[in-house]
Symmetry: C2
Subunit: 169 residues, 2 copies
């Protein structure tokens, strides 16, 4: 991991999860394993990271994560609905306390006028519900994937921090 700010983000996530005794799982499409790789670069990650699914194909999104076929047909793999289903699916199936999921078009191919390269949805889910954010990155494939991983880690950290705070009240 060459980017120090990503390392710090993962460090904070690990620390917060250990403090709050929370476990995490991931479901990645466009990042193809990058988020889990960043999480597990760090020693000690096995104490809170359960694992995840790299749902590159629609078959894996359906079979491993329970994303409904109708949703993929109606909204496409890169949609807020599918991002949410991926997060909820991996949360339920791993039994983790918190899950993040990403789906997007990293490029250079795969874009259209309706769904351009860089369009990305990041979802987070826990027992309290799910939340999805939409992004439109303008970098190349590597930059878009890294931006997506960063957004997912930030969203997970926010959610874990909120959970840890509320459990202290």
């Amino acid at each position: 991991m060459d980017d120090d700010s990503l390392v710090r983000l993962v460090e904070q996530l690990q620390e917060r999860c250990l403090v709050g005794s929370m476990t995490v799982a991931t479901a990645e499409s466009c990042t193809g394993g990058l988020i889990a790789k960043l999480i597990t670069d760090m020693a000690g990650s096995s104490s809170y990271f359960r694992g995840g699914v790299i749902a590159y194909s629609n078959e894996v999104k359906m079979g491993f994560l329970g994303v409904p076929e109708e949703q993929l047909l109606a909204h496409g793999a890169v949609s807020a609905q599918v991002a949410r289903s991926m997060a909820v699916g991996v949360l339920r199936r791993t039994g983790a306390d918190l899950a993040v999921a990403v789906t997007g078009i990293s490029g250079p191919g795969g874009g259209s006028s309706a769904k351009p390269v860089g369009l990305t949805y990041v979802a987070v889910a826990d027992a309290a519900g799910a939340e999805v954010r939409r992004f439109l990155w303008s970098g190349d494939r590597a930059a878009n994937r890294e931006a997506t991983a960063r957004a997912a880690l930030e969203l997970a950290l926010e959610r874990v921090s909120a959970g840890v705070e509320s459990s202290r009240r």
Copy 2:
């Protein structure tokens, strides 16, 4: 991806898979997504890479990959038997033509005299059967993970190349 030889390995794998119309899936424990990340760093990977599972916890190894609990209890998560089950499991459940799986102890923690840090099993599976190789790396966590990813990509490339050759006869 900073290491040129890893990039070339992934390039060759992608090229061979496209030539042979083969699809690939991954099941990763110790590398935590690194292998899939390397594969999907490359544009065009979605045409042959189905996806995979990051089976960091035993629950994910059982639930997502069908690794038998008895096997985990009898041989441990870092064993030739579990590596093989992970490869066969992800092959069947994704419907890919070829699967690679890795399980090992990257360190710095988790080692014992019977299973020291660096002990790693890499498995490959396809319709013809499965093969497992044992390694004992001596680097730090990052080096051990990279060595494992490299060994998995090399084994996949060998197997794909053999398949492409035999189908030409």
